[in-house]
Every structure is written in structure tokens, then in C-alpha cells.
Amino acid sequence: MNGLQATLKETWHFYKGTLNLVVKGSKAYYAWCFFLLAVIAVGFIFYLKQHDVGLIETNLTNEVSWGLYIANFTYLVGMAAAAVLLVVPAYVYHFKPIKEIVVLGELFAASSIVMAILFVMVDLGRLDRFWHMIPLIGSMNFPQSLLAWDVLVLNGYFFLNLFIPVYLLVKFYYHKEPNWKFILPFILLSVPWAVGIHTVTAFLYNGLAARPFWNSSILAPRFLASAFCSGPAIIILIFQIIRKVSDLKLEDEALFKIAELIAYAMFLNLFLLASELFKEYYSHTVHIESFKYLFQGLHGHNQLVPWIWSAMAMNVTAFFIFLIPYTRKRFSTLNLGCLMIIVGVWIEKGPGLIIPGFVPDPLGEIYDYMPNLLELMVSFGIWATGLLVFTLLMKVAIPIQTGKFTHVGYVERTYRLEEEQQAWKQSSSPKF
């Protein structure tokens, strides 16, 4: 009876505390949240129209049947890779500065997956039949369909990236040393799993012999390389913001380390692209058409050309910014490089990957696809949803990490928290 009472009291404390954290904030916090909510509302209204009338409300056709939604989906699956970059050094090598931010990185990955799944859902013509894809309840074509694989690995990754940080946060909340024997296998599993979600998403396109632009074995490695650029680039920016608006301490060194990793990934990305371009342009078979459409225009259809060349320029510039220690370790150039990579990779791995796959179509038809207002608004709405989810998660997770929000039993002993956390952090290495 006593135990139940204590549990109820604690549950109440937890929810009240969470609500308090989420509802109360600075003016900037309110402005940010209401801005996101407004964008979500607009996106939702546009989506309702699409749901009501059908996908005819988009600019998609039988020629280019996937567009902005699937482009964003592909990019965001890449984003979720960021977690793996933080997990590897943080947990396996006990790299100290990164360890402090790894929980937040994984929550970021989880938010990215939320967006990726939402983009697939708005792209579905029949959202009402979504349950047909659920294993056991519906009729999933596993292991034949790569889309079925994608559903499984994405949800698995989503689970891992929620479970690990939530477990760690609960431990922090109770001021306990995490049971490393229990959680470490999950952490280690998340590393190959992150590689897995990218590979499976690449295979989704890669396996289609009907689309020569995607049907190249270099596609999955290219996916991974570009994902290891854009995800960490966003994380560098986000952590600077978090550092400013909360009292979580993040060392510059951690950000510079991530930036260095981006430089290697970008080199690999550019190298793989060059390999592919060489093969296509030198052998010059009929399969070159899609590349021509993307890079130089095909029969006067050249609307993607300025996009891809600005992406190339941004990626190359960012590569040099991150390569040279002087520009890497100055925040003005570092942030510029991050922005360039975020946009550059989005163009390259989003629209630059999806649209040319459909142009020219298997019967040689060229259809110039550009997303319309509805597709843009729905997409903004989903991005805003992801950012809101991440903001709220951070709003609760950071106070737990810093020891500000804690189990009811510790409230009276708050004055000791700072010391305890300090002591935990300084303990040479986690025991596992």
C-alpha cells in the first residue's frame, strides 16, 4: 500500500515536472514553439486537401511518381545516421566530450525517424490502409519487398534510439549508475543498425533494374558517405543552440571533432560521386541519360542543372572548410560549412537522387517535375513537427541530464546533486 502510494506520488511528480518543463520557458522558446505549431497547422490543412482530393493535388504524375516527399524521406533517413557517429566514439572509445551529448544525439536521430516515417505516410495514397503493412496484422511482403524491410529496420532503429536515451535518462533521473551490462548490447547494436537503415533505404532504389540511375552498386556506399556529412552538420548547429539556451555544458572540442569526421565523410562522398560520373561519362551508354538530365540538361530540359551545380559547389567548399584546421575551429566558418553541407547534401541526396531516377522514364518520356505549393507546405509541416518533437524532448532531457529535474526522493537533497553528477562524470570510465 505504501509502495503504491509512493509510486503514484512519483508518477504525479514526473508528469507535473514534465508538463512544467514543457509549458514554461523563455519568450524565445514560446515564439519558437508557436511558430512551429503554426507551420504544422498550415501543413496539416494542406495535407487534408491532398487526403480529400487525392495525390492529384501534387505535381506527381505517372512519369515522376515519387517526388519531394520521398526525397525528404531519403535525406532524413540519412540524418538519423548522426547518432551512429556519436555512439561509436562515445561509448566504444570513451571519448569524453562526445559522451555528454550522445543521449541528445540519439534523441535527434529518433526525431529524424519520426519525420522520415511521416514523409512516407503523406506519400501513401491510401493512408487508411496503412495497417496492411503491419507484420502479422496485415500482409507484409517480407523478405521480398525492400519497402517491408525498410518499415522493419526504421521502426527498430526508432525503438533503439528512444530506448537507449530513455533508459539512460531514467537512470540519471534516479541518480543511479546505468547498468552497462544491460544497456551496452543495445548501444553496440545501434551501430550496425544505423548502417543498416541506410543500406536498406539505398537498396530500395538500388534493386530496381528498370531505373538505371539507381541500379548501380555504388548507391549504398554513397548514401552512407553523404549521410555521415549532413547528419553531424545539423548536430553541430543544434548543439551550439542548446549550449546557448540551456545550461548543458558542451565543449568546443566535441564539435570540432565531429567537424573533422565530416571532412573524411565528405571526401569519401565526393570520391564516390566522381567514380560514378567517370563510369557513366566514359562508357557513355544509354544509361547516361539521367545523369545528363541532372548535370547538363537533356533535350533542353535543364531545370535541375543549377540546383545540382550549386550543391556541388557547396559540398566542395564545405569539404575544404572542414579539412583545414584553421577554418574548422572558427565558429563563423564552421557554421557556414555546416549550412552548406546541410543544403548541398539535401539537394544531392534528396531531389537530385529521386527525380533523375524517373527522368527519362522507362519509355523515354521526359517530364519536368517541380514540387507545387501543397507539397512544399506539407513538407514544411513535417519538418516543423520533427523540430517540435526534438525541442520538447530536449526541454525535458537536458534538465534530467544536468540534474535539475529528478526523482522526488532527491528533491530535498538538490544541493548535493551537482557534486554527485560531477563525481559520476569524473569516475574514470563506465563499468562494463
Binding site: R129, H132, A209
Partner: protein, 301 residues
């Protein structure tokens, strides 16, 4: 240790409470009985005879209300020992597109804005066949055939190893025992992965609610074939499943004024299609992709 387990249990309890609250929201939004029935309708292949009867009755009533005609919805199964094959004589095709329009009419295709067509006739400059980059899809000349051009009609090739079936995440499309690749329009989730996978552009999507003029509706339909479809599901050529399973030719074969189009049972050594394969110069479109199409292009002379 005991204390630690307690906290975990506590945490799980907290989490499940949150989940319960979240799950109750969709349950609260109620819907009518008919909507619920549609929502829960099984995949055609998993329906019992009883299920099928009920669904057919419901559809017949619904179509009557919408189009004012009494529909005959068949669920006739494949005839044993048949594997349908198609022949197309490229030396005869004049590019008149009569097959295209006969197909649209027979199969109750949507006429939204422009028609949703299952057959596409490409106009190619003489000397070009494999590289379709210069193919003209929307040729609009007062007279066909135009000098200096050949015509290549393309539709679903009913591959024996169909990539569209392989990629469908929900088994909404499959190959029937007589070789016809069909779609359960009520099971398709509209992801369009099959459209991306098809090398022949054999599949089209209903981007909006299909619109068919009442006076042009064809009430003699098959469940897996030409019954009126719904928005945001995929559809495709079925070799006129509603016709061929009762011994008739597909509509495109009947409509062709030049005898370009041939149809028959590949398992019957005396069929016309077997004669063509044995005696004509036959090729299959994009044979290098190894999808084993059952659609044979040929030249007579």
C-alpha cells in the same frame, strides 16, 4: 539490485500509461459501420467464398447507386492449363491508337482531365528501336502511319518474373495461375513502388477519384480486372481478365483494324501465339532485364 528492478517496473508503468492515453485518441473518432467494413476488408486472396459473396453484393449495390446500371461482377478463376501470351506484329501496326481507346472504354478507366491509359503507342523514327530517348508519346498527326516512322505499342507485358509483384510491400499484386498479373485495388496502399519497379510503364495510378461518364460505363466486370476503381490505388492491364476467362479476346485485339494483335494460350501447341513463336522472328522488349515477358513482338516477313 531489488531497488533497481523496482524503478524499472515503475518506469514501464509510466510509459504504458502514456501509451494508453495516446492510443485512445484514434478510437474515439468513430465511423459508420460501412466505413468500418471497408476499412477491415480482407485481401482478396484470403477471402472465403462467403466473404467474396458479401463483398460482391456490396459492390454491386454501390455501383448501381453510382452509375445507375446493374453490374455483373465476376470472380471467375483461371482456366486450368492456360498461360496467356500476347503477340504484336510490328510490321502491321499503323499507330492508329484504336486499341488504346477500346481499352479505356472496356476497362472503365478514369477519364480525369486526360485519360488513364494502359496502352501507350510510341512513335519511333525508322532506325531507332532500343533507345527510346527520341520516342514521341503524344504524336498527333491527322493521318497515320506517318512516313519515316514505326509504331511500338507498349502495355503490361505480364512478366513471368514480375518486378512489380516482387517489390509490393503488402502482397496487393500477384500473378494468377494463368499468368495474368493482377491488383487487389482494395488492398493497395498507394505507395507506387511497383510503378518505380516496372520497366514497361505498365502501371498507372489513379491520382484522383476516377471519373467515368455514366453512359460509357461497362457493367460486365471482373473483381480483379475492369471494375470501377477508387482514388489513389494503382491499376494496370489485365489482358482483359473479364473477357479472356470466358473465351473472348482482349478488347485491344478485337479493336485492332490491321490484325496486329494476337492472343492465345502458350501451353496449347496449336494456338496462334505458339505458331507465331515457332515461325516468326520474335523478340521480347527489354529482354536483358530477365523479367520473362509473355508479350512477343514479331515481324511477319
Amino acid at each position: 539490485m531489488g531497488n533497481q528492478r523496482f524503478t524499472r517496473r515503475e518506469f514501464i508503468r509510466n510509459a504504458s500509461l502514456t501509451a494508453l492515453a495516446g492510443l485512445s485518441i484514434p478510437l474515439l473518432s468513430s465511423c459508420s459501420k460501412e466505413e468500418a467494413e471497408d476499412f477491415l476488408q480482407k485481401r482478396f486472396k484470403e477471402m472465403t467464398a462467403e466473404d467474396k459473396k458479401r463483398v460482391i453484393a456490396k459492390l454491386e449495390q454501390r455501383y448501381f447507386q453510382k452509375y445507375g446500371k446493374k453490374f455483373e461482377i465476376s470472380t471467375k478463376e483461371a482456366i486450368p492449363d492456360t498461360l496467356w501470351g500476347y503477340g504484336l506484329d510490328l510490321s502491321r501496326c499503323i499507330g492508329c491508337r484504336r486499341c488504346v481507346y477500346a481499352c479505356v472504354k472496356e476497362n472503365n478507366n478514369s477519364r480525369y482531365k486526360h485519360q488513364l491509359q494502359w496502352i501507350r503507342v510510341l512513335q519511333l523514327k525508322r532506325g531507332n528501336m532500343i533507345n527510346l530517348e527520341n520516342a514521341e508519346h503524344y504524336y498527333n498527326t491527322p493521318l497515320v502511319p506517318e512516313k519515316g516512322f514505326v509504331y511500338l505499342p507498349v502495355q503490361c507485358q505480364h512478366c513471368q518474373d514480375p518486378p512489380c509483384v516482387k517489390v509490393c510491400p503488402v502482397h496487393a499484386t500477384w500473378q494468377e495461375p494463368d499468368g495474368i498479373v493482377v491488383v487487389d485495388y482494395n488492398w493497395c496502399i498507394g505507395c507506387r513502388y511497383c510503378i518505380a519497379a516496372c520497366p514497361y510503364k505498365g502501371r498507372v495510378f489513379n491520382w484522383a477519384e476516377p471519373n467515368i461518364p455514366k453512359e460509357e460505363i461497362n457493367p460486365s466486370v471482373h473483381y480483379l480486372g475492369n471494375r470501377p476503381r477508387m482514388k489513389c490505388a494503382v491499376d494496370k492491364c489485365t489482358f482483359c481478365i473479364q473477357r479472356v476467362r470466358v473465351g473472348r479476346y482482349p478488347a485491344c485485339v478485337e479493336a485492332c483494324p490491321t490484325g496486329t494483335r494476337k492472343f492465345g494460350n502458350l501451353l496449347d501447341p496449336k494456338s496462334e501465339i505458339r505458331y507465331i513463336i515457332d515461325n516468326m522472328r520474335v523478340f521480347r522488349f527489354k529482354e536483358d532485364l530477365n523479367t520473362e515477358p509473355k508479350f512477343y513482338y514479331f515481324f511477319e516477313a
